[in-house]
Symmetry: C2
Subunit: 343 residues, 2 copies
DNA sequence: CTGAAAGCGCTTACAG
DNA sequence: CTGAAAGCGCTTACAG
């Protein structure tokens, strides 16, 4: 399409000034007289001058943009994180370019290539579920482009990452059930090859141990991806036990919802007979009845922190070598699904 | 941060060829011998050459990028649309830069300025709820940057837009209730200054009229933003009526959920005494019990179509003057909340 | 099939 | 306080 943009030169010619002066005046450079600056800015406004920031980026080798790679945008958790990133980045004058890996390592690898030559200044990533090799991220280090991971982070140590304290959160959630008088506490666990779900399982086990409750293998339901459907399957398994669990800690809210519905349909009273705690604070947890006690996973703040760290690393002159892991503290949100009167 | 990228020139020097040849060989230009092309590409790989696409964009005046302005990323509908846009854009070699207006016209105006000098090649927008002036979009036309609106579109005619057939969808939803034997059908309506909600209200009215049912003002609940809470308020109003509505068509799924919950708590049988239909096919509609009959608003496809149209307009040589409105057909998804046996 | 040269629109070190 | 000049890393019309 035709391009009839006014350029610096046009402005210069119009005002009988040099391009250098125009450039400086527009940038409010101190070494330009106030009158000239005023004049230039007025004229720029008048001619509808829009600086070509591609030229500027090219010249300055600064694009003021951050690349994001997420598995999918339409997963609520990620949409919240992205929202947090955009919000902070916008305030700092950065913009964000988004790519979806669709949980494919191959696509993730393609995207890293694109990001390398697109000259983003920083990259924020949540790994695809398939990713078990990290070579495609190494190039960023060589190029001096800081990488920040969140949620699903590489199982290596020297990366910048934003996570939540999954272990402690799971511990807290389980302890809450214990304090409510539960003795037979079940757990619906996520994929144990994913660090965060492993940590949640560990936190659950630790809380039981601490309170001298024995771990019963029948009360642990391992799932592949914590889907609603898998939750239904696990719930039905629990229902067939000779003695029902009196508390269930689910590693996410989807499975918490399915357990809640399956149990209620089977006539089990929630929370009196079985108390339920989820994880993530998805919107549905405060809509479904009874409302579900859950862990606020602070997705938005995760995004804010990721953006903050990324921009700090971008603007940091002395390339700080050491990697940083920021662990956010979650909070337990107590709702009806676990509100039974303590014994 | 330090930048030690290999450039075209480095490659040229290394191979004793000109930069022109290197550039062409990398681009698989036909006028270069196969052997040279092979040689250059091998060397490029070897030296880890990454083309500087900012330089290339600058030179070619093509950034292969699309800007998106949405009210919020963390609204499920928008996250789906964005996902659809990214998906199609990615396939076509475009990337997407996202901004949130946060439903502020002021911020939307700021963003349009940024997008104008960022040299995106196309812009896709869902207007902020506040927006009642469109001057900030005019500049795009002058710059030859095609604009595509979706969902909330300007109340002017000459814009490209992707919408769904709200009127027909509402008509279908209401007709469905009528066919199920409902005689007193209520409607929870959205903000009537927003075109889509107005169209849904009109569709509801038209269906009543067509089937000779009278419109009862007591059965219409106007809300400001169709929030869950507003749904609760309207539901309680309906409960106080001497005769309950036997069908309710809600302009979105949030209010459908709240009506369903309030009515059930009041002992009303769903769908036997009151059937409910929502709008949007939010995930919660197929989780809450009874599952809610709703309209699939095809958000993902809306994104795909927006991207498709945007890219077509970008790549179209002969700046097609006429604007296009693409209206997607929705579908009614019948679930338990309206499945009562017909009389 | 390959190369020399110009130039995209800015910014900035250098000079005055 | 202002200007001339060089250059960022590519691409492409022109020439051979």
């Amino acid at each position: 399409m035709k391009n009839s943009r006014t350029t610096l030169k046009d402005l210069a010619k119009e005002l009988n000034l040099s391009a250098s002066t125009i450039s400086r005046a527009l940038g409010n450079h101190p070494g330009i007289s106030e009158s000239t600056t005023k004049l230039v800015q007025k004229k720029a406004e008048e001619l509808g001058f829009i600086p070509n920031s591609i030229a500027s980026s090219f010249r300055k080798k600064k694009t003021q943009s951050i690349g994001i790679i997420v598995p999918r945008i339409d997963i609520y958790f990620h949409s919240l994180v992205i929202s947090g990133i955009e919000d902070y980045a916008y305030k700092m004058g950065y913009n964000v370019t988004i790519f979806q890996s669709k949980d494919s390592m191959k696509r993730e690898q393609e995207i890293t290539k694109i990001l390398q030559n697109k000259m983003v200044e920083g990259v924020i990533v949540c790994l695809s579920i398939e990713t078990d090799k990290y070579d495609h991220f190494k190039k960023f280090k060589k190029l001096g482009i800081p990488l920040v991971f969140y949620d699903r982070v590489p199982s290596e140590i020297d990366v910048n990452s934003i996570v939540i304290n999954d272990y402690e959160s799971a511990f807290t959630a389980t302890k809450h059930l214990i304090e409510k008088g539960c003795k037979r506490i079940a757990h619906i666990a996520g994929n144990q090859s994913t660090a965060i779900f492993k940590a949640r399982y560990e936190g659950y086990k630790a809380a039981l141990k601490k309170h001298k409750l024995t771990l019963d293998a029948n009360l642990v339901g391992l799932t592949h991806n914590l889907s609603y459907e898998e939750g239904v399957i696990q719930a039905n398994k629990f229902l067939k036990l000779p003695v029902l669990p009196d508390g269930i800690f689910c590693a996410n809210d989807y499975t918490a919802v399915s357990v809640l519905q399956v149990f209620m349909k089977a006539g089990v009273k929630i929370p009196e007979e079985t108390a339920i705690v989820g994880f993530s604070n998805y919107p549905i947890s405060r809509v479904i009845e009874p409302h579900i006690t859950t862990i606020n996973d602070r997705a938005f703040e995760m995004g804010t922190e990721a953006a903050k760290l990324s921009i700090r690393l971008i603007e940091d002159e002395e390339e700080s070598i050491k990697s940083e892991t920021i662990s956010l503290n979650t909070e337990l949100i107590v709702r009806e699904s676990s509100m039974k009167t303590t014994v």
